[in-house]
């Protein structure tokens, strides 16, 4: 019984309609979250003690960096679900993740290096965390390239899924890199749950931004996914009926 919803997720038609119904709400929430976070972060929160207003880039950089990793994990998990339960929907979801993940990885890289120029005096250093984030970008690109290189959609789904799962090893490497190598990059300041080493006045807007970025991801991924569904099911009864209407 409890599992029926799970397998209903596997129905493209059902998913398409449900996602369509939720979409506006999620977009609304995202916009609210992003604007609250931005206003709070950019105008209300105090400037950093050392870096002044420069540090406000944190409100983009850190959420983007977290999301780049989060997206990869989601992508790999749904790839695994697709392989194990042979669920088309899971594959489609997984495939829809990588362009978005790549975009956020790029955002984290760009904001990071813009931040790096004034603080470290250079746009780029070959530091462990920076490098592993760059590797993450390559993994995303590889995933997309592999998916697009295959003619047959069934094969493409499965090979991309395997690659996504294999690449997951990089995620812990990124996260722990700062501890394993002594590096230039900021050590974990939020992830220490017990006592974050960041001031509360900056913590709240940051948390809001992080949360809204996650919502942002969902609101981005749903249209991609719905597009994908329509394209792949273009020959099925329900899509035809819908188009004719």
């Amino acid at each position: 019984m409890a599992w029926t919803w799970f397998f209903r997720l596997g129905s493209p038609k059902w998913f398409y309609q449900i996602a369509g119904r939720w979409q506006p709400w999620i977009w609304g929430l995202t916009l609210i979250g992003l604007s609250v976070g931005t206003v709070w972060g950019l105008f209300i929160a105090p400037p950093d003690y050392y870096q002044g207003d420069l540090a406000r880039i944190i409100y983009i950089h850190v959420p983007a960096a977290y999301l780049s990793m989060f997206t990869y994990v989601i992508m790999a998990v749904s790839a695994a679900i697709g392989l194990i339960w042979r669920m088309k929907m899971a594959f489609m979801f997984s495939i829809s993740c990588s362009p978005i993940g790549a975009a956020f990885t790029l955002l984290a890289l760009v904001t990071g290096s813009l931040w790096g120029k004034p603080t470290w005096g250079t746009y780029w250093v070959f530091d462990a965390r920076l490098t592993s984030e760059l590797i993450l970008l390559f993994l995303y690109l590889g995933h997309m390239a592999l998916y697009n290189a295959s003619d047959d959609i069934k094969t493409a789904d499965k090979s991309a899924a395997i690659l996504a799962i294999v690449g997951v090893v990089n995620i812990p490497i990124i996260h722990y890199s700062v501890e394993w190598w002594n590096s230039l990059h900021q050590p974990a300041s939020l992830s220490k749950l017990a006592k974050p080493s960041i001031d509360e006045s900056m913590l709240w807007p940051l948390l809001i931004m992080i949360f809204s970025f996650k919502l942002f991801f969902i609101s981005m991924v749903l249209p991609w996914l719905r597009n994908n569904i329509l394209w792949r099911e273009r020959d099925s009864q329900w899509v035809r009926e819908m188009i004719e209407k």
Binding site: D151, D152, K154, D235
Partner: protein, 212 residues
């Protein structure tokens, strides 16, 4: 005398690209039968054989081997079936003998015919230690057909096995089919040539090519 087996397809459907090749394709087969799959170029014969072998997955339906889904029976299927497609897996850089030896070692089944005998049967005496790269088209196909002798399998699935063989070779292969049936073996094959077989041949027509 081969073990009993059965292969069935249940309402198979396959889409390649934009085309629905076949749907509701059902048949079943047991020991001692011959099935010829017929249809014009591009009908989907090769694709159907690949689905039957579990190489490609059907879009609908399933192939049953001895009553169970093929996906769960890979071991037993592999041990009892020999598939030869358009690409026949003869290594150019191995000699005729080495090619046959490798595949028969892989299967670990006790051959009824020694490799020397098989080479002789397919008319490659004198070429045992020749690299397959130095063989003609028809001779290369003969190497792959020699595997029918060295690797005893109940079911042969052959995609256009008569192609590239000379007249004498075609006769030999037809005769081999008959012998195989007598031992309760079965054959599924495709061919555009008309072949004289002294046994009852079931046919399955694939029409294929309609837009999905």
């Amino acid at each position: 005398m081969y073990q009993d087996f059965s292969i069935e397809s249940e309402q198979l459907a396959l889409i390649r690209g934009e085309r629905l090749l076949f749907k509701q394709c059902s048949f079943s087969m047991k020991n001692g039968q011959v099935l010829q799959i017929r249809g014009p170029n591009g009908a989907g014969k090769t694709s159907l054989l690949r689905v039957l072998c579990g190489i490609m997955e059907p879009d609908q339906g399933d192939v049953l081997w001895c009553g169970k889904s093929l996906r769960k029976m890979r071991e037993s299927f592999g041990a009892n079936v020999l598939y030869l497609g358009h690409q026949i897996g003869v290594k150019r850089n191995m000699t005729v003998r080495e090619n046959l030896l490798f595949y028969s070692n892989l299967r670990q089944a006790k051959p009824l015919t020694t490799i020397e005998e098989a080479i002789q049967a397919v008319g490659l005496t004198g070429y045992e230690d020749e690299l397959a790269a130095h063989l003609s088209q028809g001779q290369t196909r003969r190497v792959s057909l020699a595997r029918l002798l060295t690797e005893p399998s109940a079911l042969w699935i052959l995609d256009e096995p008569f192609v590239a063989l000379d007249v004498e070779g075609q006769g030999w292969l037809a005769h081999l089919f008959e012998q195989h049936l007598a031992k309760r073996g079965s054959v599924i094959f495709t061919s555009h040539q008309s072949i004289d077989l002294n046994v009852k041949v079931n046919t399955l027509e694939v029409s294929g090519g309609s837009h999905a």
